[in-house]
Symmetry: C2
Subunit: 276 residues, 2 copies
């Protein structure tokens, strides 16, 4: 594992690491913010999963999360959104292939060899983080858009791993919106039963639970409501008794400017849940 960047920010250390992933069978990068508190005591870990087209840099350079993660003593890990490389399958469109891993394990060709972001994040990356940083065993996860989908899917299916989950503008019903239908057909095939394990609303309806879910959705988001359907998700959560707070933010869009505005609230939400 090679450290490719290291910068002091707000008193903590923002690093970028590159390693060969056995799960993905390629080189992959992730960013790691290490608060100064971790020099002397173990800290909780919070994973951020980014959206379509992003890599490990977008959230790291644009959201301003470090101020709050340093204040609250949280290690923050932001992985890339897919396997990458010249020999890795890809698609000319932004919403499939490299930069669009959808945090699942692909079962269809040509994707199944490398596109295993679900296993990479829940297993391999988690072990790497545990072995290399001063962690206390508490873990939370959040994300944006496709990464909001990933955060909810990983948390709902692995409550033993993730004690806290939130999302910005998440894809909540991938099985019935064009982004999800396209990606799931390509990665998982035509059997829609196989899609349910990667669909946050379907997971809720199947009985999966989370203690508490926080979601922010901008009302000037160009992908709302065509791709993003928080109302349907809220109905499913209500039906199943899941404590979900969805905040609709007037005039905010889908950008990192939106994330930057509300990142403090999300970091504090996770700090509270991870201190339990």
């Amino acid at each position: 594992m090679k450290k490719t960047e290291s910068h002091l920010i707000f008193g903590g250390c923002q690093q970028v690491w590159q390693h060969h992933s056995n799960t993905l069978d390629c080189l992959i990068a992730f960013s790691a913010f290490i608060p100064s508190k971790a020099e002397t005591e173990p800290c909780p870990v919070l994973y951020f999963l980014s959206g379509l087209t992003c890599n490990e840099q977008n959230f790291t350079t644009k959201s301003g999360f470090q101020r709050y993660a340093e204040e609250l003593g949280i290690i923050v890990i932001a992985p890339d959104t897919s396997p990458r490389g010249e020999n890795i399958a890809d698609d000319p469109n932004y919403d499939l292939g490299q930069g669009a891993g959808f945090y699942l394990n692909a079962t269809e060709e040509p994707w199944m060899k490398n596109f295993k972001m679900y296993d990479y994040i829940t297993n391999e990356l988690r072990q790497i983080v545990k072995e290399n940083f001063n962690t206390n065993g508490k873990q939370g996860i959040f994300g944006h858009s496709m990464g909001g989908l990933g955060a909810l899917v990983l948390a709902l299916r692995n409550p033993d791993i993730y004690q806290s989950v939130s999302a910005f503008s998440p894809i909540l019903t991938p099985s019935i919106v064009t982004w999800g239908e396209k990606a799931f057909t390509a990665y998982l095939g035509n059997n829609k039963d196989d899609w349910k394990q990667y669909d946050p609303m379907q997971l809720i309806l199947s009985g999966k639970v989370a203690n508490e879910i926080l979601i922010d959705q901008g009302l000037a988001d160009p992908f709302y409501p065509a791709q993003l359907k928080p109302e349907m998700f809220a109905d499913a959560c209500k039906k199943m008794g899941i404590n979900t707070t969805i905040r609709y933010q007037d005039n905010y869009d889908h950008s990192y400017y939106f994330i930057a505005t509300f990142i403090e609230d999300h970091i504090k939400f996770h700090a509270k849940n991870l201190s339990k």
Copy 2:
């Protein structure tokens, strides 16, 4: 003038504008943060000048300044760092040509037709800002690296325009460091007397004044001290009786992570000076 981006952030509006500059004879972009306060009353304007390789996006997306500019009611303008375009002179190296305008008026070929960033910012852009936004006549300026040089040069030569000036890791003695020698030779020619009007330390020694100067310099900056010589500038300021605070920040480097950490202090410094 065309608005190419508009995003709500922290309650204010982050815009990007594109226009044809008569001074530069090309299309150029600048970003404009408009605090919500400007909807009801005129606000001061703060210009941020970026460093080598940057355009209007770097500071805007990475520094997190908007939180503080919204709190304090300041319009913040971040222009590109040079004229740009296929028909504009350029150089294959990062430290000359497009992305490296050095905030001067070039007098040498092939640069003199378009490379007039000094006139563009002090005159044309200033008029555009005055005509299009709700300004109160108070103006400050700050910048990073090459842009810290630009901010100091513009402020020291135009105290009637700029009431406040600060810088992150500025090039303070361009006439005697390799970045400056290369750029000034190309843009201004070999007569070093012509360089003095764009050299912050020489301007101080020639008797130019500013009420108060704030500078932050990271001690893990890879360009310190070879390109960045705050100690020499401090000596010149002391000799000439200029009130200059230079803060040396342990372990911080030259990146926007450094700027993000201390941007709150700079915005507050300018808010204080612009409220006088």
